[in-house]
């Protein structure tokens, strides 16, 4: 069990509006180093919007996103990644015509300095970084347990492997914080158990995980804390067993019984 440390990511009163629609309404959220935090909520609650605000896809209407002492407000998307935030996508967005290994190597490039000139003339630093990246990427594929697929094109991989490759690619950027957007979507129960073990393994290797997921048993099994969003507002933030029995959470998920209202 990894030690839970200082606050890594802090969303302070973040509001995100699209025209007249308020996707996030004054959300406060803290992710602490070394924890697995699950973000749950019904469809349209704003979970993916939280990810998009953190990674710079959207610029929040108001509020502050602070990551490890840096405000993410004015950063470009690739700069956010360089700072140490990496994500996976709800609908798989691998580079299909690249091999699994190349997908991960491309992600490892983020912390490297060599560019076009170094590559063209084969400067020593470029050569060194190339081989470092290759080794690092292979290491990550082994860590996630998909190294046997390293030379296969991403588009030809089985669905489950693609999902895991998404995680591997995100790890390639050596993130401090890993954002997983429904990593178990479309998995059968056995695959979910396997994935849960992988996520735990990732956390135990020193990464902090923020996870969006619908599957309650998966979440209850692995997360240290659960945050519940409903219509863009945070309605619960506690350890899994408490959240599970919170009447407001049950209401948001299952609706209010007809005789209660």
């Amino acid at each position: 069990m990894a030690k839970i440390g200082k606050t890594l990511l802090k969303l302070d009163n973040v509001t995100m509006k699209f025209g007249g629609v308020t996707a996030l309404n004054g959300v406060n959220l803290e992710v602490k180093e070394g924890e697995i935090l699950a973000l749950i909520g019904p469809n349209g609650a704003g979970k993916t919007t939280v990810f998009n605000v953190i990674t710079g896809v959207y610029k929040q209407t108001s509020g502050i996103v602070d990551f490890d002492g840096t405000s993410l407000g004015n950063q470009k998307r690739f700069q956010v990644t360089a700072l140490g935030v990496a994500r996976t996508f709800q609908n798989i967005r691998l580079w299909g015509d690249m091999t699994a290994l190349e997908n991960v190597i491309t992600a490892t490039d983020v912390h490297k300095k060599s560019g076009v000139v170094g590559a063209l003339f084969g400067l020593p630093r470029a050569r060194r970084e190339e081989s470092e990246n290759r080794e690092r990427a292979m290491e990550i594929l082994r860590f996630i347990g998909i190294d046997e697929y390293s030379d296969r094109l991403a588009k030809n991989l089985p669905y489950g492997v693609q999902r895991r490759l998404e995680i591997a690619r995100a790890l390639g950027t050596s993130p401090k914080l890993l954002l997983l957007d429904e990593p178990a979507a479309g998995f059968n129960p056995a695959e979910k158990v396997e994935l849960a073990a992988t996520i735990k393994k990732v956390r135990d290797a020193g990464y902090t995980v923020l996870l969006i997921e619908h599957d309650m048993s998966l979440i209850m099994g692995i997360s240290d804390r659960v945050v519940v969003l409903d219509f863009g507002t945070k309605i619960a933030d506690d350890i899994p067993s408490v959240v599970q029995n919170d009447p407001r959470v049950i209401e948001a998920y299952l609706g209010v019984p007809a005789d209660a209202s």
């Binding site: 690739f78 996508f89 691998l94 491309t106 030809n156 690619r169 390639g172």
Partner: protein
């Protein structure tokens, strides 16, 4: 499965290449270079073109088309940006040669780096504001840029407007090799050297960081950016390297043609070069080389049917694109390890 390999020339060729050791590879490359280098001496054969002399056709259009198509392929094929104004960089290179060649004492080889630099600067200046656009919008802006460059040289006094610039000097001889109008084989060898240099550059970049960045941008630009690829930077690089090749082709073209005028740099050229890339196979170096060779050579070879020539040319394009919609040699990555594993089994 074995038999299919023989029919699939690309895989067949790639297999030979991959299973060959270093000496064999060097031998293949050297023999190929020598064979292509001997092409100007085959003028008397069935390859000869009816009106223009064969070695002149090999330089322009064939060699020039191959060179420019390879340059455009960096932009369109590698990083997936549709550039309809590629002729602008060709024009910038040509006008640099024409103006500096007629007003200063610099020779072609001294002007070459200047022309390339101007084309690259133009690439960066155009790239910074426009490469935030994608797809069709980028195509329209680049199309506009191509026309702007042409209209500027058409209406400026320093470029002698529609009269064009004449008396551009030929390149000085390289050792015993003299450049002549009657016999253009030395020009051909120079174009060939430039093509080889471009191929070397593309191959080198493709397997390293820039190539991966371009590939990621082409396949999913948002995912690339979110995985830490500085997309704007690499798009500008791609644009600039493409421009450099176009500029180099322009310098040599002006120095070979001795005369240039704005009407040589119309939208048609951009489209034709793009057609070479698409016809040969977007993103595949060898496809592009073959595509540009065919499209450069064919119109001159069938010149004997005079007026019907463009009709036949168009027909060939339509028929080939129907049977091979991804071009003559499509970009398709092979899963090397899998191929090997199956071969062992």
């Amino acid at each position: 499965m074995k038999i299919r390999n023989y029919w699939n020339l690309r895989d067949y060729g790639a297999n030979i290449w991959e299973n060959a050791g270093r000496p064999v590879r060097v031998a293949i490359v050297l023999v190929s270079i020598v064979l292509v280098g001997l092409l100007p001496f085959t003028g008397g054969s069935f390859l000869a073109t009816p009106i223009a002399s064969f070695d002149a056709v090999l330089v322009y259009p064939v060699g020039m088309f191959v060179l420019m198509s390879l340059g455009l392929n960096i932009v369109v094929g590698k990083s997936g940006m549709l550039d309809l104004g590629y002729v602008a960089f060709f024009a910038i290179g040509a006008y640099t040669m024409a103006i500096l060649g007629t007003t200063t004492k610099l020779n072609t080889w001294e002007i070459m780096p200047i022309g390339i630099a101007f084309a690259m600067i133009a690439g960066v200046l155009l790239g910074i504001p426009t490469l935030r656009l994608r797809g069709d919008y980028l195509a329209i802006v680049t199309l506009g840029f191509g026309e702007i460059v042409r209209l500027v040289v058409l209406n400026s006094t320093w470029s002698k407007g529609p009269n064009g610039i004449a008396n551009i000097p030929m390149p000085p001889h390289i050792g015993p090799l003299k450049f002549e109008l009657e016999n253009q084989r030395v020009f051909f060898w120079v174009v060939m050297a430039m093509i080889l240099l471009t191929i070397w550059m593309i191959r080198r970049l493709s397997v390293r960081r820039p190539g991966r960045a371009w590939e990621a941008i082409r396949q999913d630009e948002d995912a690339a950016e979110l995985m830490g690829v500085p997309t704007l930077k690499y798009k500008i690089w791609s644009f600039t390297l493409g421009a450099a090749v176009g500029g180099a082709a322009g310098v040599l073209y002006a120095s070979k043609n001795l005369y240039i005028a704005p009407e040589m740099f119309t939208l048609n050229v951009s489209i034709l070069i793009l057609a070479c890339v698409v016809f040969g196979g977007i993103g595949n170096i060898w496809g592009v080389v073959i595509g540009a060779t065919v499209l450069g050579y064919l119109p001159d070879r069938i010149r004997f049917i005079s007026d019907a020539r463009l009709l036949v040319f168009g027909l060939v394009l339509v028929i080939v694109m129907n049977f091979r919609p991804d071009g003559l040699l499509p970009r398709k990555k092979r899963e090397k390890a899998i191929v090997k594993r199956e071969a062992n089994a």
